[in-house]
Symmetry: C2
Subunit: 201 residues, 2 copies
């Protein structure tokens, strides 16, 4: 119905916007209308930003990060501790860690986690390059910053096995109470881990 | 922090996406990453759809709808009942009514509602053209399909006054229980209106 009213151009815009994560069919319509109303200040700049992104963004052949240069800004940054490689599932996890400022090291983006159910096998992940990088002299530690899900932990075990012939320390993130988290909302697994890994005050 | 990591191109894309209704800073990052990953199937087509939308979409000089032609498809549709003009606040309301298939008439998009608090005065709305259209011979009814909010109803009263010297019937939407709505979740105003405007079974 909306197609015959708004015309195929608007309908196409709505359909494509609805494929963005976080936007459903209804919010995609609102977004399309918003774009059409803010033509000069939003529609044009966004269309242009997408064109530039498509033209200039590349995947770093070393770590799998996305950037406008290869190797990426992080891999080329000599102020970072190159003896530590932080393994993440996705670029969004890399961004989250960078925002936290928790560590100033290098990263390795796997591009997913092993998932027998979804058919994700080792050859689908950026693993060969990880072994290659971990073999280079100067690398002392690989931190597995993977989700505490079954698939994330399966992947962590798999990588630990892959790297166990190398002289690198393999570590993983601590489990425990999230900062600001209330105890009675936490699951038993997290509480048990927080007790087991308790530290002195 | 993310700027120095992801580069200004990605950061610009995220900032613009975050200005879409329904996307916050976090979901805009996810959307940007999704776009970068789906370059061929989503980033390019969406950028192109925006370019086309900007180039071809115009506002109908008769009713205020957005379309690729002026007058718009609805205004040019001779199968519609041109004796009825449905007044709506926004194009999204027009789309909603068209999806419902509730009426096959013409529309008039105000581009907002009167709002003393937000500084929206009569001269900011598409009102002159409404009076002009309602004056044309053949127009018998103007349906005020405005929100049941204070501003919506103020606007409805204002329009009724504007049109009361014309030989057109001015009507408004019925109040009542939404279809599928549960009584005990409804406010008193809606329940009172539903009782007052009860119909025979």
């Amino acid at each position: 119905m909306a197609q015959s009213v708004a015309g195929p151009e608007i309908e196409r815009l709505i359909q494509l916007l609805a494929r963005l994560p976080g936007l459903g069919p209804r919010s995609a319509r609102r977004a399309a209308l918003h774009l059409i109303k803010k033509r000069e200040t939003l529609l044009n700049p966004l269309s242009e930003a997408m064109r530039v992104a498509n033209e200039r963004i590349v995947v770093c052949s070393s770590c799998g990060n996305v950037d406008t240069s290869d190797p990426c800004t992080i891999c080329r940054d000599h102020r970072r501790d190159a003896s530590i490689i932080v393994v993440v599932e996705d670029v969004s996890d890399l961004w989250a860690l960078e925002r936290s400022g928790a560590i100033n090291a290098l990263y390795h983006v796997l591009g997913g986690v092993l998932s027998p159910l979804d058919g994700v096998r080792p050859e689908h992940l950026n693993l060969d390059r990880l072994v290659e990088r971990a073999t280079q002299s100067g690398v002392a530690e690989v931190i597995l910053a993977l989700s505490a899900t079954v698939d994330g932990q399966t992947t962590a075990h798999y990588i630990t096995d892959l790297l166990n012939h190398l002289p690198v320390k393999v570590t993983k993130l601590a489990h425990g109470v999230p900062v600001g988290g209330e105890l009675d909302y936490l699951d038993e697994g997290t509480l048990s881990a927080a007790i087991r890994q308790r530290t002195t005050f």
